[in-house]
Amino acid sequence: MVQRIVAVTAGLSVPSSTRLLTDRIVAATRELAKARGDQVQVGRGQELQIDVVELRDLAQDIAAHLVTRFPSERLAQVLEGVSTADGLIVVTPTFAGSYSGLFKSFFDLLEPTALAGTPVLLGATGGTARHSLMLDHAMRPLFAYLQAEPVATGIFAATDDFADAGLARRIDRAAGQLVAAVGANACTTYAAAAEDVPAPAQSELSAVPDFRDLLFGKR
């Protein structure tokens, strides 16, 4: 079974410090999953796949979706991938004390419960450390609303932090928490499957109501 983590990164420039932070988190997550593979669930007969999604590449698709209310083919694929991921890494630059508008617009396009129960690692970049509380003032409430499960350690990287060994330690700690949460969720899934609990509907079209239930008041 493949465990799949998607890293969503919202940096706007090329190269971007947000992408740089994302790549470091992805690399640490991959290393930790491999190292823990023998002890923890992720890696034991399982493969960890990490996909990186650059929102910059999807900026026009995201804006068009907001206007037309349907996604382009490639945006639909990305939304599906994020909705079905076992874990997420989300990283945004800090704009005006919060996540960027592009970042929020992307998550606005997900179905309201698409991330329910999904472990999420929160990351952000900013000019100075005085913005670092945006992780807890802005990002955590957003993902709480989406019923996701943010891991305890958030990673804020101010420009200075890229020269600081402390950042690497925080990345390792957060990545470890994400790997553990994804692994724990995998165990839960197996337990549920063993008891024949039906899997939640993947798509709105897979849940067909029976009209008699609607008509005869079982609504």
């Binding site: 068009a64 037309t68 349907f70 609607l214 008509l215 005869f216």
Partner: protein, 386 residues
């Protein structure tokens, strides 16, 4: 195969001149466009229903009654009639009256199609949208099919010994379509009763339309109305044509870029690639619309949105000439040749429903096949003989 046009009745400034038509001009233009549709050999004219500016068609049966007097072959329909915020008693009466005036040239399409603020204007709650569509439509069916109705439900005052008048023409209610874009409940509703299902796909990629139509077809068969491929399906479409495709692109682009719905969003090239909007020569339109059948199967009705986004009346009438003379005859011939003999070629006409008689599925309130198995049926929903 039936072809027609459907209008939303938007009053939109012409972006190339900045001029906005008056409501009177727009309403008269809709009448002219509908009459032109008959003249160029189209089968159906359908009007939307809206209760907020910039739209004018708040009173579809008034407009369709006026058109009934000035046309002779055109089927008059809606796109859509709001089953959520209209009183089903009034819908039953209005459309029965229209049937009599139009000599049976009437069908209609149910929709929820309301923005949130419209619900409270008519005393309803958008959170009950699907439930309103379910209960109100069921009452509407009974009002058309039973001479005397006792009713109590969640959403309107009870009825005791009520008879809606006039009774449907020849005792046969109009054929009903259910329009839905995303709600599986509505596709299921259409399938349950054996009514038509219209997917207004004009802003949606074909892959989504395919899924919704497929769902309706499967459930149509499940509920015992016939094979999935015999279910009654309609699709939306929109086109802009000139003999030379580059002329079409150049002329339509300002209207596209400023259109109320998709303007300022994707480029026209992206949008035409992803949705049924086709801007080009009549031949390109023909080729594009032949692919719809490949996605959804043989279907019965194709409606085009032609008069929107501020296009001048003169242009719209030229478009209808091209549609009627160059596009529809070819599509009709090609699609009719491909359709198996036992798949309906069009939505049932009044004459066909009359001929089908009292035992036909359309004459029943509930489809007997899947409901008879149900032992616990709410008394309020019981009908005589079911």
């Amino acid at each position: 195969m039936e072809f027609g046009i459907f209008t939303v009745g938007d009053v939109t400034p012409d972006p190339t001149t900045g001029r906005t038509p008056t409501e009177a001009e727009r309403i008269q233009a809709m009448v002219t466009i509908a009459k032109k549709a008959e003249e160029v050999g189209l089968d159906v004219f359908a009007t939307g229903e809206h209760h907020n500016p910039p739209f004018v068609p708040s009173s579809p049966t008034t407009m369709l009654g006026f058109l009934a007097a000035q046309t002779s072959t055109l089927k008059l329909s809606t796109s859509t009639t709001l089953i959520t915020t209209n009183d089903p008693v009034k819908i039953a009466e209005d459309f029965a009256m229209l049937q009599h005036l139009a000599g049976g040239r009437v069908d209609l399409m149910m929709g929820r199609g309301n923005t949130g603020p419209v619900y409270p204007w008519f005393g309803q709650d958008i959170r009950e949208g699907v439930n309103l569509a379910v209960e109100n439509y069921h009452l509407l069916r009974r009002l058309w099919r039973e001479d005397v109705v006792d009713w109590s439900g969640r959403f309107r005052t009870p009825l005791q010994g009520f008879t809606s008048t006039p009774r449907p023409l020849d005792g046969v209610p109009p054929f009903v379509w259910h329009g839905s874009i995303r709600s599986t409940e509505i596709a299921e509703q259409a399938a349950f009763y054996g009514d038509g299902f219209f997917h207004n796909n004009i802003f949606w990629p074909l892959r989504h339309t395919r899924q919704m139509v497929q769902l309706y077809r499967e459930r149509y068969e499940h509920h015992g109305h016939g094979r999935a491929d015999q279910a009654i399906v309609g699709l939306g479409g929109q086109v802009f044509m000139r003999e030379n495709s580059q002329d079409a692109v150049r002329e339509f682009r300002p209207y596209f870029d400023e259109a109320p719905v998709y303007g300022h969003g994707p480029s026209m090239e992206d949008f035409t690639a992803q949705t049924p909007l086709t801007v080009g020569s009549p031949q390109q339109v023909i080729e594009r619309y032949l692919t719809m059948r490949e996605a959804v199967g043989d279907y019965q009705r194709q409606l085009f949105l032609m008069d929107h986004a501020g296009l001048p009346l003169k242009t719209v009438l030229e478009q209808l000439d091209m549609l009627g003379e160059q596009v529809v005859p070819v599509l009709r011939k090609e699609l009719d040749a491909l359709r198996p003999a036992d798949v309906p070629a069009h939505a049932p006409t009044h004459a066909e429903l009359v001929a089908a008689g009292a035992d036909s599925a359309n004459a029943h309130v509930l489809p007997s096949v899947t409901v008879q198995q149900d032992s616990v049926v709410d008394d309020a929903l019981q009908i005589k003989g079911a």
